[in-house]
């Protein structure tokens, strides 16, 4: 069966995309982020706060989930595949510029959207949400341990934490919305494999 190497795989063949470690990093991060968002809503939106009360307990869950949020990614660094994906996410080639320009023009043609394992939008989302998470963690810690920093800073930290929370909420909704619109991408994160056809269409430059 030496011919097999030359023959293109059938479009229905499954292509390996994510290892078990990578999938668990995503799953754990999503769960912790979800806990942060839900508890934040119950602390912040008056109608929800009225339903729940127990402010101290909700705050405690929010704090613990927030503190644990970077842990899955840090543990993931032990995985070679995860580290390789971080490199893919970090590095931008000429095709990413093409992709971003097309996105700005709302050009949805396949040829206008060249992408490697991750498209330019996913790369920017990953970098931004990582930075935003750490800003949330830092400002959150300043509000939590008020004695660690000059007390005046707490107001400033609260201000940044509140507005960034709103921004993260909107961006996260976009992230989830796009995932809902692409079942094969979700299958990739659930099972680790995607169809050859999807990979060629969505990520034509992805080296396998």
């Amino acid at each position: 069966m030496s011919l097999r190497a030359e023959a293109p795989a059938p479009p229905s063949a499954r292509v390996h995309r994510f290892t078990r470690a990578e999938r668990w990093v995503h799953r754990a991060t999503a769960a912790l982020m979800g806990a942060c968002v839900v508890t934040a809503a119950f602390l912040y939106i008056p109608q929800l706060a009225v339903m729940v009360g127990r402010r101290e307990l909700v705050v405690r869950i929010h704090e613990c989930a927030g503190l644990a949020l970077p842990v899955p990614v840090l543990l993931g660094l032990a995985s070679r595949a995860f580290r390789a994906d971080l490199r893919f996410l970090n590095r931008f080639g000429p095709h990413d510029k093409v992709w971003l320009r097309a996105a700005l023009r709302r050009d949805k043609r396949r040829a206008a959207r060249p992408a490697g394992k991750f498209n330019a939008g996913q790369k920017i989302y990953a970098a931004w949400i990582a930075g935003a998470t750490l800003v949330m963690l830092g400002t959150g810690l300043m509000m939590w341990f008020t004695r660690l920093t000059p007390l005046m800073w707490r107001t400033s930290a609260t201000f940044v934490h509140d507005w960034l929370a709103l921004t993260v909420g909107v961006v996260l909704a976009g992230h989830i919305g796009m995932a809902l619109g692409d079942p094969e991408a979700r299958r990739g994160l659930r099972t680790g494999t995607v169809t050859e056809e999807w990979a060629r269409r969505e990520h034509p430059l992805w080296r396998r």
């Binding site: 009225v50 920017i124 930075g131 800003v135 400002t139 707490r154 107001t155 930290a157």
Partner: protein, 243 residues
Amino acid sequence: MNSEQPEERQDGRPVGRRVFLGTLGLGALGVLTAPVLQRGLEGFLGRVAGKDPTGLTGLLPNGGGFRYYSVAASVPHRTAADYRLTIDGLVDHPRSHTLAELRALPQTRLVRDVQCVTGWRVPGTPFQGVRLSHLLDAAGVRPSAKAVRFTCFDGTYTESLTLDQARRPDVLVALRMQDEDISHDHGGPVRLYVAPMYFYKSAKWLSGITVTDRVKPGYWEHLGYDVDAWVGRSNGRTDEPTS
């Protein structure tokens, strides 16, 4: 790039790292410039909220309006039929008041800003009720008394004031807020209103006033907040005084 065998490069420019570090930097800059940004936004949102029929601006940070804080899992409802305010401790005439009795006493109306220790401020909010000093005088405070402790029918919250603070004319046992009977969510039917202090001193669902010989820190004060919670002079904050 060879179109026959597309290969993904790993040696492009590290834009991801730049976006990541840029976000961190903007966050730090936001903390440093927050006092200026916040003042500007509060002014802007204050103007917008006045014209916003949907009320959505109220959900934005610093968008104005009260936020609901309760430390209890659930708070029982009390009405004119079953509400009682007891006054005991170091007094000559311990007693309990019904809501009707409180309403029959001389009422004082104050219009001040409300300032929460977490940052939100609601301008010009009317509160109306009986001066705490009036209730204390009627009960006959004994000479050994130094402080007043407040308990609430949520079963959890407590607050306290020194006797001097409690006797200020801007400290009320409030029955009305924003010119309406105080609703359950705002601490009704009766809450404390300590105009010159951060709003956590204005205990909701007030049910007991006990005169004591020393200040016992209340609920939040056990968790690190200042007992003498003057607006602008405590909790490390520099807000404009409210009274």
